[in-house]
């Protein structure tokens, strides 16, 4: 009997090693094994025989591990790579291809900078096109890494070509508001275009969309860290070399900064891909820290607004501020969701998040009401239209998310509906960014 217990413990340890199998799953499988053994025991087999037969009936553990991984792909983001063949093969390493694409981006941006004679002059086309000079390399990196076929490469390139045409053929006025809006929104639209090769061409898969959301969060954090590190490096370089008078520090900045920023886009992506299986995602951890703080702040603000009413100087920036707020709240919702195991029941974190979302919604509705009236007086400008549009897009998302969250907390719906809503809504953001780039300028006569 002792021997069997040891064997079961060894089997349990082996199963627990599988990346996508967590503690409760191992308990479940062990209970199954023991039930099977009990039955075989009753049928007259010895303990050892029963163990062998039961393990055999459980099936090939590698295949089992792959099935679990397919089902719980979210767990793979923190675990080590699977043995076995058919999961979307993501070979680690591959830093050479990352380096090539990063260098290519760095070189291209330098060439462009020299052509534009930045920073001596600042031609309008430079700011408009900056996303188009950098993001295709990121797309290319993913297309290569996912080993896409030629047809998919072409489809990857299409949004960039279309964007290039639209943005450069549009006759913008000098220093126009619409041009500034395009400068801001084009990289966002192109980021969604990068999603296509990232997801390996399977844009309908909700799981892959969620993976892209996780990637975006981690990429952003890594990029900021690289930028800070780079800033320190450049600052120290300047400080050290300045006294020598031998090297023109300004020139170093001119050369290194744009190239570094462009190359870092690909490098950060490579880092996220490499560490995906080894390091805890940071975005959800930050989310967990900040959600309670935001909940308190927003609930307090909502109470204040409700009590004092919307009096006082109502500047035009207010809607922009609330857009930023809703974006942050959406980020909290998305990244809280990205690391949450869908099978665990509602907890206090979900409740706190709901408080934050509902408070934000209440605040936004109050401001929106007053703002719409104001816009009626002041008229529609491109900036106000975009601010209003973005606000509505975010409002719809968060309102439904809050509704689903309430149902989830009451136990009337599965968590996976909330995820589905968010991933189904992602194309709306892409469409919005594309609309601001393509449809808005003509609407306002490129002013």
């Amino acid at each position: 009997m002792d021997g069997t217990e040891t064997q079961i413990a060894a089997w349990r340890a082996y199963v627990a090693e599988a990346p996508a199998v967590d503690g409760r799953d191992v308990d479940e499988l062990e209970a199954h094994l023991r039930d099977q053994m009990a039955e075989l025991d009753a049928a007259g087999l010895t303990a050892d025989e029963a163990f062998l037969v039961a393990v055999k009936r459980m099936g090939d553990l590698d295949a089992l591990s792959r099935e679990f991984a397919r089902e719980h792909s979210g767990r793979l983001w923190k675990q080590l790579v699977l043995k076995g063949d058919d999961q979307p093969a993501r070979p680690s390493g591959g830093w050479v291809e990352a380096l090539v694409f990063a260098l290519a981006a760095a070189v291209v941006i330098q060439v462009v900078r020299l052509l534009a004679q930045f920073p001596q002059e600042e031609p309008g086309w430079l700011a408009r096109n900056v996303g188009l000079f950098v993001l295709p390399f990121l797309s290319g990196y993913f297309a290569r890494r996912r080993q896409l076929d030629p047809r998919h490469w072409v489809l990857t390139a299409v949004p960039f070509v279309v964007a290039a045409l639209v943005v450069n053929l549009s006759p913008f006025d000098e220093d126009s508001a619409t041009e500034a809006l395009v400068v801001v929104h084009l990289p966002v639209a192109l980021w969604f275009a990068v999603a296509y090769p990232y997801m390996g061409g399977t844009i309908r898969s909700h799981d892959r969309r969620m993976d892209f959301v996780r990637f975006t969060g981690e990429w952003f954090i890594y990029y900021v860290l690289i930028a800070l590190g780079g800033g320190v490096l450049l600052g120290l370089t300047a400080a050290i070399l300045e006294p020598t008078g031998a090297v023109d520090v300004e020139r170093i900045f001119e050369w290194v900064l744009p190239s570094g920023a462009a190359g870092a886009v690909v490098v950060a992506a490579w880092l996220v891909e490499s560490k995906q299986r080894v390091v805890e995602n940071m975005a959800p951890v930050l989310t967990m820290l900040f959600t309670p703080l935001f909940a308190v702040m927003l609930a307090g603000a909502a109470v204040v607004y409700a009590l004092t009413g919307l009096v006082g100087a109502f500047d035009r920036e207010l809607l922009g501020v609330f857009d930023a707020l809703l974006v942050v709240v959406l980020g909290l919702v998305l990244y809280g969701m990205s690391a949450r195991d869908p099978s665990i029941p509602p907890g206090w974190m979900d409740r706190i998040q709901l408080i934050a979302v509902v408070s934000a919604l209440v605040l936004d509705v109050m401001v929106l009401g007053a703002m719409v009236a104001r816009i009626g007086e002041l008229g529609f400008t491109p900036n106000r239209t975009v601010a209003l549009g973005l606000n509505l897009v975010l409002l719809v998302n968060l309102a439904r998310a809050a509704g689903l969250s309430v149902q989830f907390l009451m136990g009337r719906t599965a968590f996976h509906r909330l995820e589905r809503w968010q991933t189904a809504y992602l194309p709306v953001f892409a469409l919005w960014a594309a609309t601001v780039v393509a449809v808005l300028p003509p609407l306002f006569a490129f002013s």
Partner: protein, 121 residues
């Protein structure tokens, strides 16, 4: 006699089987596997472990609920119960299988047993 059944067919039939077994009453993993073995008279060779990712998927989709319990004279197990969404999914599966069976029944002569076995959906 053990007939070899295609892997794809086993996979496709697993969802309706599990949902139908749970529609009869809540159950746990091992009991479900036993029931399937009994129902198919040993012909459906299920790899026991594969049941669990399937159950987890059904749970994630909201077709079953689950909880850990310790029955009076047994070990602690995870019990699964079907939900209303699950019953709807089961009805949908039944329609699909009926459609397939109808087509097959038409094309295979003398297989009049196929449709009555499934029931007109």
């Amino acid at each position: 006699m053990r007939v070899h059944i295609d892997k794809d067919l086993v996979a496709a039939s697993s969802t309706p089987l599990v949902l139908a077994i749970l529609a009869d009453g809540e159950s746990y993993g091992y009991a479900i596997v036993k029931r399937v073995r009994a129902l198919s008279e040993g012909e459906l060779e299920w790899t026991d472990g594969m049941l669990y990712p399937l159950l987890h998927r059904l749970h994630r989709q909201g077709y079953v609920t689950t909880e850990w319990r310790t029955p009076p004279k047994g070990r602690r197990r995870r019990y699964y119960a079907i939900t209303d969404d699950g019953r709807a999914a089961l009805a949908d599966q039944r329609r699909q299988w009926a459609a397939v069976a109808r087509a097959l029944g038409d094309v295979w002569p003398g297989s009049g047993g196929l449709l009555p076995a499934l029931g007109e959906a």
